[in-house]
Protein backbone atom coordinates (compact mmCIF):
# COMPACT_ATOMS: atom_id res chain seq x y z
CA UNK A 1 0.00 0.00 0.00
CA UNK A 2 1.29 3.48 -0.84
CA UNK A 3 1.27 6.17 1.81
CA UNK A 4 -0.62 9.42 1.05
CA UNK A 5 2.76 11.17 0.83
CA UNK A 6 4.02 8.72 -1.80
CA UNK A 7 0.78 9.08 -3.73
CA UNK A 8 1.03 12.89 -3.76
CA UNK A 9 4.70 12.59 -4.73
CA UNK A 10 3.86 10.44 -7.72
CA UNK A 11 0.93 12.69 -8.65
CA UNK A 12 3.20 15.74 -8.66
CA UNK A 13 5.65 13.99 -10.97
CA UNK A 14 2.87 12.85 -13.26
CA UNK A 15 1.54 16.41 -13.41
CA UNK A 16 4.72 17.50 -15.18
CA UNK A 17 3.93 18.07 -18.83
CA UNK A 18 4.72 15.00 -20.96
CA UNK A 19 5.30 12.52 -18.10
CA UNK A 20 3.43 9.27 -18.78
CA UNK A 21 4.85 6.84 -16.27
CA UNK A 22 6.68 6.98 -12.94
CA UNK A 23 8.65 4.17 -11.33
CA UNK A 24 9.84 4.65 -7.76
CA UNK A 25 12.57 2.24 -6.72
CA UNK A 26 13.31 1.63 -3.05
CA UNK A 27 16.39 0.46 -1.19
CA UNK A 28 16.15 -2.49 1.16
CA UNK A 29 15.61 -0.12 4.10
CA UNK A 30 12.61 1.42 2.33
CA UNK A 31 14.28 4.69 1.30
CA UNK A 32 13.65 5.86 -2.24
CA UNK A 33 16.71 5.06 -4.36
CA UNK A 34 15.77 6.23 -7.86
CA UNK A 35 12.84 7.66 -9.75
CA UNK A 36 12.39 6.83 -13.44
CA UNK A 37 10.10 8.95 -15.61
CA UNK A 38 8.88 7.95 -19.06
CA UNK A 39 8.06 11.02 -21.10
CA UNK A 40 6.64 11.62 -24.53
CA UNK A 41 7.23 14.54 -26.83
CA UNK A 42 8.77 16.92 -24.30
CA UNK A 43 12.33 18.08 -23.70
CA UNK A 44 13.72 15.41 -21.33
CA UNK A 45 16.36 17.74 -19.89
CA UNK A 46 13.75 20.35 -18.91
CA UNK A 47 11.63 17.65 -17.30
CA UNK A 48 14.67 16.30 -15.47
CA UNK A 49 15.33 19.74 -13.90
CA UNK A 50 11.75 20.11 -12.69
CA UNK A 51 11.51 16.48 -11.58
CA UNK A 52 14.77 16.74 -9.64
CA UNK A 53 13.44 19.77 -7.76
CA UNK A 54 10.31 17.84 -6.78
CA UNK A 55 12.17 14.63 -5.93
CA UNK A 56 14.61 16.53 -3.70
CA UNK A 57 11.72 17.94 -1.71
CA UNK A 58 10.64 14.46 -0.72
CA UNK A 59 13.79 12.33 -0.95
CA UNK A 60 17.09 14.19 -1.00
CA UNK A 61 19.26 11.20 -1.96
CA UNK A 62 17.17 9.81 -4.81
CA UNK A 63 18.46 9.96 -8.38
CA UNK A 64 16.25 10.91 -11.31
CA UNK A 65 16.21 9.06 -14.64
CA UNK A 66 14.23 10.41 -17.59
CA UNK A 67 13.57 8.29 -20.69
CA UNK A 68 11.82 9.61 -23.77
CA UNK A 69 9.38 7.16 -25.37
CA UNK A 70 9.01 9.27 -28.49
CA UNK A 71 12.61 8.43 -29.43
CA UNK A 72 11.73 4.76 -29.79
CA UNK A 73 10.84 3.42 -33.18
CA UNK A 74 7.25 3.71 -34.33
CA UNK A 75 5.33 0.44 -33.84
CA UNK A 76 4.97 -0.28 -37.57
CA UNK A 77 8.71 0.12 -38.11
CA UNK A 78 9.45 -2.27 -35.29
CA UNK A 79 7.09 -4.98 -36.56
CA UNK A 80 8.51 -4.73 -40.06
CA UNK A 81 12.04 -5.84 -39.20
CA UNK A 82 12.09 -6.95 -35.60
CA UNK A 83 13.72 -10.19 -34.52
CA UNK A 84 12.06 -11.38 -31.33
CA UNK A 85 13.64 -13.36 -28.50
CA UNK A 86 11.51 -16.39 -27.69
CA UNK A 87 13.74 -18.10 -25.14
CA UNK A 88 17.22 -17.76 -23.63
CA UNK A 89 18.41 -20.38 -21.16
CA UNK A 90 21.65 -21.29 -19.42
CA UNK A 91 22.18 -24.90 -18.42
CA UNK A 92 24.54 -25.01 -15.49
CA UNK A 93 25.21 -28.74 -15.77
CA UNK A 94 26.44 -28.55 -19.37
CA UNK A 95 27.55 -24.90 -19.39
CA UNK A 96 25.58 -24.34 -22.60
CA UNK A 97 23.36 -21.40 -23.53
CA UNK A 98 20.33 -22.06 -25.73
CA UNK A 99 18.66 -19.22 -27.57
CA UNK A 100 15.51 -19.34 -29.69
CA UNK A 101 14.52 -16.43 -31.96
CA UNK A 102 11.62 -15.76 -34.26
CA UNK A 103 11.39 -13.55 -37.31
CA UNK A 104 8.53 -13.28 -39.78
CA UNK A 105 7.04 -16.56 -38.63
CA UNK A 106 10.35 -18.46 -38.79
CA UNK A 107 12.20 -19.84 -35.76
CA UNK A 108 15.96 -20.06 -35.33
CA UNK A 109 17.95 -21.97 -32.67
CA UNK A 110 21.46 -21.34 -31.41
CA UNK A 111 23.71 -22.93 -28.81
CA UNK A 112 27.04 -21.80 -27.35
CA UNK A 113 29.11 -22.74 -24.33
CA UNK A 114 31.08 -19.73 -23.16
CA UNK A 115 29.24 -18.83 -19.98
CA UNK A 116 26.11 -16.74 -19.61
CA UNK A 117 27.46 -13.44 -20.95
CA UNK A 118 29.46 -14.46 -24.04
CA UNK A 119 27.49 -17.66 -24.45
CA UNK A 120 24.19 -15.77 -24.57
CA UNK A 121 25.49 -13.44 -27.26
CA UNK A 122 27.16 -16.22 -29.30
CA UNK A 123 24.06 -18.40 -29.12
CA UNK A 124 22.00 -15.43 -30.33
CA UNK A 125 24.29 -14.96 -33.32
CA UNK A 126 24.05 -18.71 -34.03
CA UNK A 127 20.26 -18.50 -33.90
CA UNK A 128 20.34 -15.62 -36.35
CA UNK A 129 22.48 -17.66 -38.74
CA UNK A 130 19.95 -20.45 -38.32
CA UNK A 131 17.31 -17.95 -39.47
CA UNK A 132 19.34 -17.45 -42.62
CA UNK A 133 21.21 -14.26 -41.89
CA UNK A 134 24.80 -13.72 -42.95
CA UNK A 135 26.07 -11.16 -40.51
CA UNK A 136 29.10 -9.09 -41.57
CA UNK A 137 30.44 -8.42 -38.06
CA UNK A 138 31.85 -10.25 -35.07
CA UNK A 139 31.39 -10.17 -31.32
CA UNK A 140 33.88 -7.85 -29.65
CA UNK A 141 32.92 -7.55 -25.98
CA UNK A 142 30.15 -8.54 -23.62
CA UNK A 143 30.20 -6.89 -20.21
CA UNK A 144 27.89 -6.50 -17.27
CA UNK A 145 27.96 -3.07 -15.61
CA UNK A 146 26.68 -1.81 -12.24
CA UNK A 147 24.11 0.99 -12.40
CA UNK A 148 21.60 2.40 -9.95
CA UNK A 149 18.97 0.29 -11.71
CA UNK A 150 20.75 -3.05 -11.62
CA UNK A 151 23.23 -4.96 -13.81
CA UNK A 152 22.53 -4.43 -17.49
CA UNK A 153 24.63 -6.20 -20.11
CA UNK A 154 26.36 -4.28 -22.90
CA UNK A 155 27.27 -6.06 -26.13
CA UNK A 156 29.67 -4.58 -28.67
CA UNK A 157 30.07 -5.87 -32.23
CA UNK A 158 32.55 -4.80 -34.89
CA UNK A 159 32.01 -4.97 -38.67
CA UNK A 160 34.46 -7.05 -40.71
CA UNK A 161 34.68 -4.16 -43.13
CA UNK A 162 35.05 -0.49 -42.20
CA UNK A 163 32.35 0.99 -40.07
CA UNK A 164 31.43 1.98 -36.57
CA UNK A 165 31.07 -0.52 -33.77
CA UNK A 166 27.53 -1.43 -32.80
CA UNK A 167 26.32 -1.40 -29.23
CA UNK A 168 23.36 -2.94 -27.53
CA UNK A 169 22.23 -2.80 -23.91
CA UNK A 170 19.58 -4.73 -22.01
CA UNK A 171 18.68 -5.85 -18.54
CA UNK A 172 16.58 -8.89 -17.73
CA UNK A 173 16.21 -11.25 -14.79
CA UNK A 174 19.34 -13.26 -15.67
CA UNK A 175 22.59 -12.63 -17.54
CA UNK A 176 21.94 -14.99 -20.43
CA UNK A 177 18.65 -13.27 -21.27
CA UNK A 178 20.25 -9.84 -20.81
CA UNK A 179 23.07 -10.85 -23.12
CA UNK A 180 20.71 -12.21 -25.80
CA UNK A 181 18.53 -9.10 -25.60
CA UNK A 182 21.53 -6.77 -25.77
CA UNK A 183 22.80 -8.63 -28.85
CA UNK A 184 19.40 -8.23 -30.49
CA UNK A 185 19.31 -4.58 -29.45
CA UNK A 186 22.51 -4.02 -31.42
CA UNK A 187 21.44 -6.25 -34.29
CA UNK A 188 17.95 -4.81 -34.65
CA UNK A 189 19.52 -1.46 -35.47
CA UNK A 190 21.48 -3.17 -38.20
CA UNK A 191 18.47 -5.19 -39.39
CA UNK A 192 16.24 -2.11 -39.42
CA UNK A 193 18.34 -0.95 -42.34
CA UNK A 194 16.36 -3.63 -44.20
CA UNK A 195 19.22 -5.74 -45.43
CA UNK A 196 18.09 -8.92 -47.09
CA UNK A 197 18.80 -12.42 -45.85
CA UNK A 198 20.88 -14.85 -47.82
Amino acid sequence: MMSPTEEDFELELRSLSGVMNVEIRHRENGDVDAVTLITHGQDPSAIRVMATQIVNLYYTDASVIVEDASRALAPRDIQAVRVALVRAEFHAESGNCDVELSYSGKTGYGRAGSGQLFGGAEATLAALRDLGYSLPFYLLTVISVATVRGWPVIVTMRPFADGADMFGIAQADDDVTSSAMATLDALNRFLSKDISTD
Binding site: M2, E10, L11, R14, V19, M20, E23, A69, A72, I78
Partner: protein, 274 residues
Protein backbone atom coordinates in the same frame (compact mmCIF):
# COMPACT_ATOMS: atom_id res chain seq x y z
CA UNK B 1 1.72 -7.93 -24.22
CA UNK B 2 -1.02 -7.54 -26.80
CA UNK B 3 -2.86 -4.26 -27.13
CA UNK B 4 -6.55 -4.99 -26.79
CA UNK B 5 -9.54 -3.40 -28.41
CA UNK B 6 -10.72 -0.55 -26.28
CA UNK B 7 -14.34 0.29 -25.49
CA UNK B 8 -17.35 -1.47 -24.07
CA UNK B 9 -17.56 -5.20 -24.43
CA UNK B 10 -20.34 -6.89 -26.39
CA UNK B 11 -21.85 -8.09 -23.13
CA UNK B 12 -21.99 -4.60 -21.72
CA UNK B 13 -23.38 -3.15 -24.94
CA UNK B 14 -25.95 -5.90 -25.22
CA UNK B 15 -27.36 -5.48 -21.75
CA UNK B 16 -27.22 -1.68 -21.81
CA UNK B 17 -26.12 -1.81 -18.19
CA UNK B 18 -22.69 -1.26 -16.68
CA UNK B 19 -21.05 -4.46 -15.50
CA UNK B 20 -19.70 -4.64 -11.97
CA UNK B 21 -16.99 -6.89 -10.63
CA UNK B 22 -17.23 -7.95 -7.01
CA UNK B 23 -13.45 -8.30 -6.58
CA UNK B 24 -12.98 -4.76 -7.85
CA UNK B 25 -15.26 -3.38 -5.17
CA UNK B 26 -13.54 -5.50 -2.54
CA UNK B 27 -10.18 -4.03 -3.59
CA UNK B 28 -11.74 -0.58 -3.42
CA UNK B 29 -13.04 -1.24 0.09
CA UNK B 30 -9.66 -2.64 1.18
CA UNK B 31 -7.93 0.48 -0.10
CA UNK B 32 -10.45 2.75 1.60
CA UNK B 33 -9.66 1.16 4.96
CA UNK B 34 -6.06 2.41 4.76
CA UNK B 35 -6.27 5.39 2.43
CA UNK B 36 -8.47 7.38 0.09
CA UNK B 37 -8.83 6.26 -3.50
CA UNK B 38 -5.87 7.48 -5.46
CA UNK B 39 -2.83 6.28 -7.35
CA UNK B 40 -2.26 3.55 -4.76
CA UNK B 41 -5.64 2.06 -5.63
CA UNK B 42 -4.69 1.83 -9.31
CA UNK B 43 -1.64 -0.26 -8.44
CA UNK B 44 -3.69 -2.40 -6.03
CA UNK B 45 -6.25 -3.14 -8.75
CA UNK B 46 -3.56 -4.05 -11.30
CA UNK B 47 -1.81 -6.30 -8.80
CA UNK B 48 -5.10 -8.00 -7.98
CA UNK B 49 -5.85 -8.46 -11.69
CA UNK B 50 -2.44 -10.08 -12.20
CA UNK B 51 -3.07 -12.37 -9.23
CA UNK B 52 -6.59 -13.39 -10.27
CA UNK B 53 -5.63 -14.35 -13.81
CA UNK B 54 -2.01 -15.39 -13.09
CA UNK B 55 -0.85 -12.78 -15.61
CA UNK B 56 2.75 -12.00 -16.40
CA UNK B 57 2.01 -8.31 -16.67
CA UNK B 58 -0.76 -5.72 -16.80
CA UNK B 59 -0.79 -2.07 -17.81
CA UNK B 60 -3.61 0.44 -17.73
CA UNK B 61 -3.45 3.57 -19.87
CA UNK B 62 -5.65 6.42 -18.76
CA UNK B 63 -6.34 9.77 -20.30
CA UNK B 64 -6.70 12.94 -18.29
CA UNK B 65 -7.55 16.48 -19.41
CA UNK B 66 -4.76 18.00 -17.31
CA UNK B 67 -2.18 15.20 -17.42
CA UNK B 68 -2.58 13.72 -20.91
CA UNK B 69 -1.89 9.99 -21.28
CA UNK B 70 -0.92 8.22 -18.07
CA UNK B 71 0.44 4.68 -17.84
CA UNK B 72 0.41 2.49 -14.75
CA UNK B 73 2.02 -0.94 -14.62
CA UNK B 74 1.37 -3.72 -12.12
CA UNK B 75 3.84 -3.65 -9.25
CA UNK B 76 4.65 0.01 -9.97
CA UNK B 77 7.27 -1.18 -12.45
CA UNK B 78 8.87 1.08 -15.02
CA UNK B 79 7.51 0.98 -18.53
CA UNK B 80 10.39 0.81 -20.96
CA UNK B 81 10.40 3.18 -23.89
CA UNK B 82 10.04 0.14 -26.13
CA UNK B 83 6.92 -1.05 -24.33
CA UNK B 84 5.50 2.49 -24.18
CA UNK B 85 6.05 2.80 -27.91
CA UNK B 86 4.33 -0.52 -28.63
CA UNK B 87 1.33 0.25 -26.41
CA UNK B 88 0.80 3.77 -27.72
CA UNK B 89 -1.42 6.17 -25.80
CA UNK B 90 -4.92 4.81 -26.43
CA UNK B 91 -6.72 4.34 -23.09
CA UNK B 92 -7.33 0.73 -22.14
CA UNK B 93 -6.15 -2.24 -20.10
CA UNK B 94 -3.39 -4.32 -21.66
CA UNK B 95 -2.62 -7.78 -20.32
CA UNK B 96 -0.02 -10.46 -20.93
CA UNK B 97 -1.35 -13.00 -21.76
CA UNK B 98 -4.47 -11.54 -23.31
CA UNK B 99 -7.04 -13.56 -21.33
CA UNK B 100 -9.00 -11.01 -19.28
CA UNK B 101 -12.61 -10.60 -20.48
CA UNK B 102 -13.51 -7.26 -22.05
CA UNK B 103 -16.14 -6.53 -19.44
CA UNK B 104 -13.60 -6.90 -16.65
CA UNK B 105 -11.05 -4.73 -18.42
CA UNK B 106 -13.69 -2.05 -18.89
CA UNK B 107 -14.54 -2.16 -15.20
CA UNK B 108 -10.86 -1.94 -14.19
CA UNK B 109 -10.20 0.95 -16.51
CA UNK B 110 -13.26 2.87 -15.32
CA UNK B 111 -12.34 2.35 -11.66
CA UNK B 112 -8.74 3.46 -12.31
CA UNK B 113 -9.87 6.53 -14.25
CA UNK B 114 -12.21 7.48 -11.41
CA UNK B 115 -9.45 6.97 -8.88
CA UNK B 116 -6.96 9.17 -10.73
CA UNK B 117 -9.57 11.92 -11.12
CA UNK B 118 -10.48 11.71 -7.44
CA UNK B 119 -6.83 11.97 -6.40
CA UNK B 120 -6.25 15.00 -8.58
CA UNK B 121 -9.48 16.66 -7.42
CA UNK B 122 -8.48 16.11 -3.80
CA UNK B 123 -4.96 17.41 -4.41
CA UNK B 124 -6.25 20.44 -6.33
CA UNK B 125 -8.76 21.30 -3.62
CA UNK B 126 -5.99 21.48 -1.02
CA UNK B 127 -3.09 22.91 -3.03
CA UNK B 128 -2.31 26.04 -4.98
CA UNK B 129 -2.12 25.10 -8.66
CA UNK B 130 0.89 27.31 -9.47
CA UNK B 131 3.19 26.47 -6.58
CA UNK B 132 1.85 23.10 -5.34
CA UNK B 133 1.94 24.35 -1.76
CA UNK B 134 -1.19 24.54 0.39
CA UNK B 135 -3.91 26.96 -0.69
CA UNK B 136 -5.84 29.46 1.42
CA UNK B 137 -8.51 26.96 2.40
CA UNK B 138 -5.99 24.42 3.69
CA UNK B 139 -4.04 27.16 5.43
CA UNK B 140 -7.13 28.55 7.23
CA UNK B 141 -8.00 25.09 8.43
CA UNK B 142 -4.42 24.40 9.61
CA UNK B 143 -4.24 27.77 11.40
CA UNK B 144 -7.53 27.07 13.14
CA UNK B 145 -6.31 23.65 14.28
CA UNK B 146 -2.98 25.06 15.48
CA UNK B 147 -4.74 27.79 17.49
CA UNK B 148 -7.01 25.25 19.14
CA UNK B 149 -4.00 23.13 20.16
CA UNK B 150 -2.19 26.22 21.37
CA UNK B 151 -5.15 27.39 23.42
CA UNK B 152 -5.88 23.97 24.90
CA UNK B 153 -2.38 22.58 25.47
CA UNK B 154 -0.20 25.66 25.32
CA UNK B 155 1.68 24.37 22.27
CA UNK B 156 3.65 27.23 20.75
CA UNK B 157 3.72 27.98 17.06
CA UNK B 158 4.62 30.95 14.90
CA UNK B 159 2.66 32.33 12.01
CA UNK B 160 4.89 33.85 9.33
CA UNK B 161 3.39 36.00 6.57
CA UNK B 162 5.60 36.77 3.58
CA UNK B 163 4.97 39.30 0.85
CA UNK B 164 7.07 39.72 -2.32
CA UNK B 165 8.47 43.23 -2.72
CA UNK B 166 7.49 45.04 -5.89
CA UNK B 167 5.97 41.97 -7.46
CA UNK B 168 3.35 43.96 -9.37
CA UNK B 169 6.05 46.04 -11.04
CA UNK B 170 7.91 42.87 -12.10
CA UNK B 171 4.71 41.38 -13.46
CA UNK B 172 3.95 44.55 -15.40
CA UNK B 173 7.44 45.11 -16.76
CA UNK B 174 8.68 41.54 -17.42
CA UNK B 175 5.36 39.84 -18.12
CA UNK B 176 3.11 37.37 -16.36
CA UNK B 177 5.14 34.35 -17.45
CA UNK B 178 8.18 35.65 -15.55
CA UNK B 179 5.92 36.61 -12.65
CA UNK B 180 4.43 33.12 -12.51
CA UNK B 181 7.87 31.56 -12.66
CA UNK B 182 8.99 33.77 -9.77
CA UNK B 183 5.99 32.68 -7.71
CA UNK B 184 6.78 29.03 -8.52
CA UNK B 185 10.38 29.49 -7.42
CA UNK B 186 9.28 31.21 -4.24
CA UNK B 187 6.83 28.37 -3.53
CA UNK B 188 9.57 25.82 -4.15
CA UNK B 189 11.96 27.68 -1.85
CA UNK B 190 9.28 27.73 0.86
CA UNK B 191 8.77 23.99 0.55
CA UNK B 192 12.50 23.41 0.87
CA UNK B 193 12.71 25.73 3.88
CA UNK B 194 9.98 24.32 6.09
CA UNK B 195 10.47 21.40 8.42
CA UNK B 196 8.33 18.29 8.47
CA UNK B 197 5.07 19.23 10.20
CA UNK B 198 5.15 22.90 9.18
CA UNK B 199 2.57 24.21 6.72
CA UNK B 200 3.54 26.47 3.82
CA UNK B 201 0.75 28.10 1.83
CA UNK B 202 0.06 30.66 -0.87
CA UNK B 203 -2.77 32.74 0.49
CA UNK B 204 -3.02 35.46 -2.17
CA UNK B 205 -1.42 36.71 -5.37
CA UNK B 206 2.07 37.30 -3.98
CA UNK B 207 1.26 36.59 -0.34
CA UNK B 208 2.52 33.48 1.39
CA UNK B 209 2.14 32.12 4.90
CA UNK B 210 3.86 29.50 7.01
CA UNK B 211 2.85 27.87 10.25
CA UNK B 212 6.02 26.93 12.13
CA UNK B 213 5.10 24.27 14.65
CA UNK B 214 6.72 24.26 18.10
CA UNK B 215 8.35 27.62 17.50
CA UNK B 216 7.96 30.99 19.15
CA UNK B 217 8.71 34.29 17.44
CA UNK B 218 12.48 34.09 17.88
CA UNK B 219 12.73 30.80 16.00
CA UNK B 220 11.44 32.14 12.69
CA UNK B 221 14.86 33.56 11.81
CA UNK B 222 16.07 30.05 10.96
CA UNK B 223 13.23 29.67 8.49
CA UNK B 224 13.81 33.07 6.84
CA UNK B 225 17.53 32.35 6.51
CA UNK B 226 16.79 29.04 4.80
CA UNK B 227 14.23 30.75 2.57
CA UNK B 228 16.75 33.37 1.44
CA UNK B 229 19.30 30.69 0.80
CA UNK B 230 16.92 28.50 -1.23
CA UNK B 231 15.64 31.40 -3.30
CA UNK B 232 18.98 31.41 -5.10
CA UNK B 233 19.07 33.49 -8.26
CA UNK B 234 15.45 34.59 -7.82
CA UNK B 235 16.67 36.86 -5.01
CA UNK B 236 18.22 39.11 -7.62
CA UNK B 237 14.79 39.73 -9.10
CA UNK B 238 12.67 40.04 -6.03
CA UNK B 239 12.96 40.38 -2.27
CA UNK B 240 10.41 39.65 0.40
CA UNK B 241 9.21 41.05 3.68
CA UNK B 242 7.88 39.00 6.55
CA UNK B 243 5.70 39.62 9.55
CA UNK B 244 5.34 37.16 12.40
CA UNK B 245 3.03 36.48 15.31
CA UNK B 246 3.30 33.72 17.87
CA UNK B 247 0.71 31.73 19.69
CA UNK B 248 -0.12 31.60 22.57
CA UNK B 249 2.08 34.63 23.37
CA UNK B 250 0.40 37.10 20.97
CA UNK B 251 -3.01 35.47 20.68
CA UNK B 252 -4.74 32.13 20.31
CA UNK B 253 -7.42 33.52 18.02
CA UNK B 254 -6.69 32.82 14.33
CA UNK B 255 -8.06 36.12 13.01
CA UNK B 256 -6.27 38.18 15.67
CA UNK B 257 -2.99 36.31 15.12
CA UNK B 258 -3.24 36.91 11.39
CA UNK B 259 -4.00 40.61 11.97
CA UNK B 260 -0.95 41.02 14.20
CA UNK B 261 1.40 39.29 11.73
CA UNK B 262 -0.07 41.32 8.88
CA UNK B 263 0.37 44.61 10.78
CA UNK B 264 4.02 43.75 11.55
CA UNK B 265 4.65 42.90 7.93
CA UNK B 266 3.31 46.23 6.71
CA UNK B 267 5.13 48.04 9.49
CA UNK B 268 8.38 46.60 8.13
CA UNK B 269 7.40 47.70 4.67
CA UNK B 270 6.86 51.19 6.02
CA UNK B 271 3.23 51.19 4.98
CA UNK B 272 0.41 52.21 7.27
CA UNK B 273 -1.94 49.31 6.66
CA UNK B 274 -5.43 49.33 8.14
Amino acid sequence: MTPLIDGASEDAVGSGQPQYEAWLFQTMLDELTVSELGIGFIYSVLDELVKRYALNDAVVILSHDSFGAQMFRAGGQAISVDLASRLGTAPGVYCDPDIVPNVERDAVRTACQLSLSLHLARFSAAHDALTNIANRRTFDSALQASCVRSSRYGWAFTLVLADLNGFKAINDSLGHAIGDDLLRQFGLAMRRSVRSGDVAARIGGDEFAVILSNADGHDSSGFTDRLRSHLGSARELVGFTIGTASSPRDSTDPAELFRIADARLYEKKGINHR
